[in-house]
Assembly symmetry: C2
Homo-oligomer: 221 residues x 2
């Protein structure tokens, strides 16, 4: 299990300061699939993921989950609600077993008096903004085909570790749509899939899909 000092946000603090913080942290264990916090909830604590993987997602009025991102320990989650003391914009659920440390917000806010900590906070927030920005791009610009092409181009290995329906939920598309588009990509000889290993055959065509948001049908059809 990780400790505070393993998290970049806190790693710049002195031994002494860290020890003091550690004293005030309430450590909580979670089982797989349990909820850490719900969208719209508020909390008096910063949630620090010390062990395990979580996902963050929003829920639509009809109960559909909109996947935002996954996070692995060690990591501070929901920084922005902690800083602004506002409600969580998303629900956080464990994908594995895991552990969360709860740091009282007063303690966090006191840390900000330390310049190194503030700079680390800026770094951490930058990182989070990059994630958000990326997500926004995927959800507003990319078509389903482009989402899939992008995933294959950047992280083809994920198909070895996750089932297609899990990948679909990460991309916020239905498994049916994923299946259909993968079939199309195979038929167009842009990729091959063998025993869950996705291999890129035509990198250019893939890039083209990402850039144009669509696949030109092959003349042979």
């Amino acid at each position: 299990m990780y400790e505070l000092k393993d998290i970049p946000l806190f790693s710049g603090l002195s031994e002494l300061h860290l020890a003091e913080l550690q004293e005030h942290i309430y450590v909580k264990h979670y089982s797989k699939d349990s909820i850490v916090f719900y969208e719209e909830d508020k909390s008096e604590y910063l949630h620090v993921l010390l062990e395990g993987d979580v996902k963050l997602y929003k829920t639509t009025p009809n109960g559909k989950e909109v996947y935002l991102h996954g996070m692995s320990a060690p990591n501070a989650i929901a920084l922005f609600p902690a800083l602004e003391r506002v409600a969580f914009p998303a629900t956080c659920a464990f994908l594995t077993e895991g552990t969360v440390g709860l740091l009282p917000l007063e303690k966090l806010h006191k840390c900000l008096e330390n310049l190194d900590f503030s700079l680390a906070m800026i770094k951490a927030m930058s990182k989070r903004m990059k994630l958000l920005e990326n997500l926004l791009h995927k959800e507003t610009i990319f078509s389903s085909e482009a989402k899939i092409a992008d995933l294959i181009a950047n992280n083809a290995k994920i198909f070895q570790h996750l089932r297609n329906n899990e990948i679909a939920s990460i991309l916020n598309i239905t498994p049916e749509t994923l299946s259909r588009i993968l079939t199309k990509l195979k038929k167009e000889e842009i990729i091959t899939i063998d025993d869950h290993i996705v291999t890129i055959v035509n990198q250019n065509a893939l890039q083209d899909i990402i850039e144009t948001n669509s696949m030109k049908k092959s003349a042979s059809n």
Copy 2:
């Protein structure tokens, strides 16, 4: 025209420090509709909006604009690309005439050695995250009906200042869709529109649309 000290991000700095920064700022004037920077571009400067209004938007492969947000002077724009020295995630265009101050990134990064400045930066980034988070919610959770209902509930006055096609572009829907849904809202007696003044008649029904993402049809149809 505003100056650096009018911007919350910089207002905590000493007179001396401000004067020094001001010396290194290159001030540039822009005409209405001109582009400040393009998506994917990089810059060695932080852009500080000193006068006028801009909008930020992404462009899809088919040339459609996806509106992100508008900003008014005084304000630092594109903080995240400035901090991380990465490409702009969006295009910035003036909606009015205006002025931008260009602050070399070295100068900005030097400011971060000042704790008050760092704290102001954290505040500014928080604010930006809130914007992004809001936008993400609108684009991923809301239906077109909910977007419009939300706008009417929170900012009905905007209909007095902007034409419907401008409002449509802010909501990232087509003018046709906006027109149809406004007509529907009038027919259901949820709002009235008189000479561009939108009045809410049935607040509950409006809230209901925002929460459920759809309008139940009235029995009379």
